[in-house]
Every structure is written in structure tokens, then in C-alpha cells.
């Protein structure tokens, strides 16, 4: 076999892994950018989205068709959560948002465990379980679709924030809340929208992840921890940064796992985070 086959396969695997991380991270970074909130319950929103996708699948609606439905459901959920809860947290000290969203994490995990049991569930006979081969390189169809989904989602979110009126308002709020208010922007509305859109992104992510991953009440933790590092590495609030950070984390994890040891594959990831934030505290592509 070609001596380069293994590194090439690792490269492709690492990039695709990175794209899956980006899928989960973009919503998180949007919420942070607009209102300075690290949503620690982000992984639990992912969990809700995965259960919603599963429910649709059991009704005969596949994950790709169900994706917009799940995204809309999560959007509405996000808006309600903002109105009822996050708004109050923002009025308190900065720690309130950290612990409030963390409380939500515990609450949602508990609710899922109480009502849906801690069993692992996955969609029966998932579509796209085949493998695509190009030369010596093989990727699974599901992962490829997830990767493409991540690129589309990131591009769409980027275009939305850069080129639409609402997106511009979001950037204005992110830049300076008080100035934005003076300019006549309804900050509460923009915050609510941003929270809803962030939740919708993770809704789309959940629908796609059901192609290759089972859902259970604590599934969020596995993805969210990486997402926090990705977002901080790329720069809190930067959508492009989340994509770059995610690809970097994916590559470090996969190459670190092979050449170092699978047990230590997160060591290069965390070291990279520490090095980047020490040299560039705002993250790779963050402002300020």
C-alpha cells in the first residue's frame, strides 16, 4: 500500500471531523457574539434536536426532510427560552448567565432522563450508511453529508450576519449595546432572534448528527465541550473563526490520536487552545 495512504486518510478524516465540530459550534458562537453569553446548555439543545429528529424518523420522516422542521422547532424554543429566562440572566451579574445556562443543562438532562430514559436510541436503518471510495481514501456517506451540511450552514449564517438588515443590527448590538439602542435598534428583539437562530443552527446540527450517532440524555456533553474549545480557539463570536477553529481541532485530534496515542488525542487540542489564547487572547479570528 502507498506509504502516504494513512496520512492522507487521516487528513480527510480530520477535516471531516472538524466540519462536524463546526456544525455544533456555529450556533454557540453567534449567541456569544451578539450577547456575550456562553450558553452552557448548548449541548442539551443538540440533545433535544436529536430526540426531535428521532421522533420524526419514527413517524417516517427522514433526518434530511425533518431538518427544517427541527430547526424551526429549536428556533421557537430558543426565542421562548430567551424571553422567559436568558433576558433575566442578562440583567444580573456576569456569573448569572454562566450558572443560569448551566442550571438549564442540568434541568434538560434530568427531564430527558426522567421522560425518555437513559437508553441509547438511534434511527432504525439510517440512510446513507454506505462508503465512498476515492483511491485509497474512504469516507462514509453520512459523515460527508454532515460535513457538507456544516459548510452550507456556516456560509448561510455568515451571509445572514454580513448582508441582511437584521444581521447588521446583530453586529451593531455585538459591537456596542448602548450605541445600538440609541440608534433605535430593539436590543431585546435582536438578542431574542440571535438566541433563536443559534438554537436553530444546533437544531440543524442535531438532525444531521442522527445520521451517524445515537442519542441519549447526556449526548450533548460529548459535543459541547469540544464546541466550547472550538469557539474560544476561533474567537468568541466569529463565525469564520468557529469554522477554522473546528478544522484545526479536528486535525489535531485525529493526527494526535494516531501519532501520539488515542488516549492522549485531546492533549494537542487543549495545548493548542492554551497557546493560542495566551498569544492572542481574542482567539484566532476574534475581534477586540
Amino acid at each position: 500500500m502507498d506509504a502516504l495512504a494513512t496520512p492522507a486518510q487521516l487528513l480527510v478524516g480530520g477535516l471531516l471531523t472538524g466540519l462536524v465540530f463546526a456544525l455544533v459550534a456555529v450556533g454557540l458562537t453567534l449567541i456569544y457574539g451578539v450577547m456575550d453569553v456562553v450558553n452552557f446548555a448548548h449541548g442539551e439543545y443538540l440533545m433535544l434536536a436529536m430526540y426531535a429528529t428521532l421522533a420524526l424518523a419514527l413517524l417516517g420522516i427522514g433526518p434530511l426532510v425533518g431538518l427544517p422542521l427541527v430547526a424551526i422547532a429549536l428556533f421557537l424554543f430558543g426565542i421562548v427560552v430567551y424571553r422567559v429566562f436568558i433576558r433575566r440572566l442578562l440583567a444580573g451579574p456576569p456569573e448569572a448567565t454562566v450558572f443560569g445556562t448551566f442550571g438549564m443543562l442540568v434541568l434538560l438532562q434530568g427531564l430527558a432522563q426522567a421522560t425518555l430514559t437513559s437508553d441509547y436510541q438511534s434511527i432504525p436503518n439510517p440512510p446513507f450508511h454506505g462508503t465512498i471510495r476515492v483511491g485509497a481514501i474512504a469516507v462514509s456517506q453520512a459523515t460527508l453529508i454532515e460535513g457538507i451540511g456544516a459548510l452550507v450552514l456556516t456560509a448561510a449564517l455568515f451571509a445572514f450576519v454580513e448582508f441582511t438588515e437584521t444581521g447588521r443590527a446583530m453586529r451593531a448590538v455585538a459591537e456596542d449595546r448602548i450605541a445600538a439602542t440609541l440608534m433605535g435598534i430593539d436590543v431585546q428583539r435582536i438578542n431574542g432572534l440571535a438566541f433563536g437562530i443559534g438554537a436553530a443552527c444546533v437544531g440543524a446540527a442535531g438532525a444531521l448528527l442522527m445520521l451517524s450517532y445515537p442519542v441519549y440524555p447526556t449526548v450533548g456533553a460529548a459535543f459541547a465541550l469540544t464546541a466550547f474549545v472550538v469557539v474560544a480557539l476561533g474567537g468568541f463570536g466569529s463565525i469564520q473563526g468557529a469554522l477554522v477553529g473546528a478544522l484545526l481541532v479536528g486535525l489535531l485530534e485525529v493526527f494526535g490520536g494516531f501519532y501520539l496515542s488515542p488516549e492522549l488525542k485531546l492533549v494537542p487540542v487543549y495545548l493548542a487552545y492554551l497557546i493560542v489564547v495566551l498569544l492572542r487572547p481574542q482567539g484566532l479570528l476574534g475581534r477586540r
Binding site: 462508503t131 490520536g257 488516549e263 488525542k265
Partner: protein
């Protein structure tokens, strides 16, 4: 000023906590024999704990009842040598945390005055709870924790009914030896994969040690975190080692990642042999469909044991009635056996004195065919380990788990090598 009020509140609050715990002491009812059971009733293993509790309660009712089965102490209306005393179980919650298990053991011994302890499922909680039993000199029967080190601590009051991970690892190599003898199949290169917690690393250590001792070539040992979301590097490592067989210990999400990764990367060993867990989760075959075909997994129990003991389907039926139609499985069957083994020792002891119970436990000798398990017998060696323990090996054939080893409970012949990946 405000600090003084605060202090009054704090003092009162501290005093209340102290009193709150003090008021709950109560004496044991004389005609009943109280056994303390420590289980993960809340926390991450709560669901497993609920099943184990239902199983132990079923076993209690079997002992106290009068319907007879070919199982020890069942259907004799309590313990005959103790004036038909009934056994009573008092449950305490470990929350799957070592410190809570320790507190639970202390509570059961000092407040509920239990004559013996049973539990606790997770190896880490069994470690601390059994230490407490040792300190108070109370017999501790463990039905289900498989970390080999538990019986290597020189404890005098600790008895473990289940075979441990070393036995299960050994079973795989016995299976290979049998294949060699009967079918001239030669297994040399073994890859060991396992999650890096207590379960996977304990199993992996045993597989590696025993494999090396028997002269197998351990071509790679992959340890990884069970919470990982991808196994690209892990699969490449296994692929690069080109093993004859892969022995793997994973939970469900990671077991699916590995199976898909092996297929995608064309890793085609002659067999994949798993340490139950994810590989016997109902989601495994349901999700993978045809890709699960041919996977071997060790098990502690199978309903096919009915060929040895006809009470298996009856107990299964009773258990389903109590526990939402969930079938009897390895964990619940072992918990039932745990209570029965303890009842057997209590009856032979004819006394509730700790020393007498301990001596009786040491003299336990229950033939394998009087258990629900594939065991040869129940007999504790000097370390407290049941030396008659054995596991079984199942294989996914036509979407079902079929027992293929050992031959006296096997219902199908093993398919070797496993079928090639579809498409």
C-alpha cells in the same frame, strides 16, 4: 448587625442538619432477617439500579414464598433453619459515587443493623462499600462487579459471585484453543481495543496479560475515551496492526463508531470479539443491521441457559411481570443469584451472627445446574472469588444473539471467519 443575624441562621441550619439525620434510627423487626442492599438508585446508573432492585425483590419473594424451583432456597417459606424467618431487604442509594456507597454501607450497618450486605454493581462503589463491611466485620456479597482487583485486597468479609474480567478474557482464549482443536483454526495476532475507564482498561489489562502468557501476539493495544465522537485514528491504528482478531470493550455510541469505522476503512479481521456493554445493547443490532452480523460478544447470561435449568424461563416471566416486560438479563440474573446465595448461607449458618454467616459463605457449594447462570458451581476460594464462574460467548447470527460457546449451552455453531462487510 446583619452578620449576627446571618450567624444565627447558620447555627440553626447546621443544628438542623445534625438533628435531621439523628431521628431516623429504628430497630429491626425480630422475625425478619434484614439484608442491606446498596444500589445506584439515583444518578447516572439509576436505570440499571432500578432493574437490580426489582430483581433482588423478586429473589426475596422467591425465598419467602412456597413455590419451588430448581434454585437454592426457593419456595421453602423463608429460611427453615432459622424458624422460617423471612428475609427483608433494606435498600440504600450509592448514586454510583464511591463516597456515597461508603456512607450507604455505614448507614445500613449502624442504623438498620443488617446482618449482611449485597451490592453494588459498579466496581468503584463496591470497593468502598466492602471496605466498610470489612471494618465492621459484616459479610458482603457482591453479585456483579467485575474489576479483577476487588478480590485481590485480602479482605476477609468480601465474597464475589460473578466471574471477573480476567475469567472473561480467559474465556476468549479458551474459545480460540477449542477452535484450533476442533476446526484447525489458528489465531495468532490479537488487537485489544478498550475505553480508558475502569471497565475498558481492566478488561484490556486482563486480555493483554493472559494473551501474552499463552503466547499470543498482542499486535496493538488501543485505549480511548468513551466520550469521544470519532475514532479515525483508533481505526487506523488497528488497521496498521493487521490483526487476526479484535477484542474490544466499548459502550454503545463508541461501539457503533468502531463498527462503522472498521467497515469504512476495510478492516477485516477473522473475528471481532466484544466485552458485552455496547455490543449487547438492543441498539447495536437495530442500528447496524447486517453490519452487526458475525460479531462475537461475551455474556454472563443468556435465556438459552434454560437447557441446563428449566426455571430460567419461569423466573424471566416473573421478572417481566414486575419490571415493565423487560427480559431477565445478565445484571438482573446475577442480582437474583446474589440474594439466593446469601439466603443459602444464612440458612446453613442457622444464625445471624456475622462469624457464622461468613463461615457458611466459605462453605458454599452450589452446583452450576442449580443456578440461573452458565457457572460450573458457586464456591468461594480463599480470596472470596467464586472459582466456579464462567461466561458464555454469543454471536450475532441472522440479527439475533445466539449462544455459540461453551458447547453445553450453545444453540448454534460459531460462524468463523465472520462474513465480509456488505458493499
Amino acid at each position: 448587625m446583619h452578620a449576627r443575624r446571618l450567624s444565627a441562621f447558620l447555627v440553626a441550619a447546621f443544628a438542623l442538619t445534625a438533628l435531621g439525620g439523628a431521628g431516623t434510627t429504628r430497630a429491626a423487626d425480630p422475625p425478619e432477617i434484614v439484608i442491606g442492599s446498596i444500589l445506584p438508585l439515583t444518578g447516572p446508573l439509576a436505570q440499571t439500579g432500578a432493574g437490580l432492585r426489582a430483581a433482588q425483590e423478586l429473589a426475596r419473594d422467591l425465598v419467602n414464598g412456597h413455590v419451588s424451583y430448581p434454585l437454592p432456597m426457593v419456595g421453602r417459606s423463608g429460611l427453615p433453619h432459622l424458624g422460617h424467618a423471612r428475609i427483608k431487604l433494606v435498600f440504600a442509594d450509592s448514586q454510583a459515587k464511591p463516597d456515597q456507597a461508603r456512607a450507604a454501607a455505614e448507614q445500613l450497618i449502624t442504623q438498620d443493623h443488617v446482618v449482611a450486605l449485597i451490592g453494588t454493581y459498579a466496581s468503584s462503589t463496591t470497593a468502598t462499600a466492602s471496605q466498610v463491611a470489612e471494618r465492621y466485620g459484616i459479610p458482603f456479597l457482591n453479585p456483579d462487579s467485575t474489576a479483577p482487583g476487588l478480590t485481590a485486597r485480602g479482605l476477609k468479609w468480601f465474597f464475589r459471585a460473578t466471574p471477573n474480567d480476567a475469567t472473561f478474557a480467559d474465556n476468549f482464549y479458551q474459545f480460540f484453543a477449542e477452535l484450533k482443536k476442533t476446526k484447525k483454526i489458528d489465531v495468532k495476532r490479537v488487537a485489544i481495543v478498550g475505553e480508558d475507564g475502569l471497565f475498558g482498561s481492566g478488561a484490556g489489562d486482563a486480555e493483554e496479560q493472559i494473551g501474552k502468557k499463552l503466547g499470543y501476539d498482542i499486535v496493538t493495544r488501543v485505549a480511548y475515551s468513551a466520550t469521544t465522537t470519532e475514532v479515525n485514528a483508533e481505526v487506523q491504528k488497528v488497521k496498521a496492526a493487521s490483526p487476526d482478531v479484535i477484542i474490544i470493550a466499548s459502550y454503545l455510541p463508541d461501539s457503533l463508531l468502531y463498527m462503522r469505522g472498521f467497515k469504512e476503512q476495510g478492516v477485516a479481521p477473522k473475528a471481532i470479539l466484544a466485552q458485552d456493554a455496547g455490543f449487547i445493547d438492543p441498539g447495536f443490532v437495530r442500528t447496524l443491521g447486517a453490519d452487526a452480523e458475525g460479531v462475537f460478544t461475551r455474556e454472563v447470561f443468556s435465556l438459552s441457559i434454560k437447557h441446563r435449568n428449566q426455571s430460567v424461563p419461569l423466573v424471566d416471566q416473573l421478572f417481566r411481570q414486575r419490571f415493565g416486560d423487560k427480559p431477565l438479563d445478565g445484571n438482573t440474573a446475577r442480582s437474583i443469584m446474589g440474594v439466593l446465595i446469601l439466603a443459602d448461607a444464612l440458612d446453613r449458618a442457622g444464625s445471624t451472627k456475622p462469624d457464622a454467616i461468613r463461615t457458611a459463605l466459605q462453605k458454599t457449594n452450589i452446583p452450576g445446574k442449580l443456578t440461573l447462570m452458565p457457572w460450573n458451581r458457586v464456591h468461594f476460594d480463599a480470596t472470596g472469588q467464586n472459582d466456579g464462574g464462567a461466561g458464555i460467548i454469543e454471536q450475532v447470527q441472522d440479527g439475533k444473539y445466539e449462544t455459540v460457546w461453551p458447547s453445553d449451552v450453545a444453540v448454534r455453531a460459531p460462524i468463523w471467519p465472520m462474513p465480509a462487510w456488505k458493499r
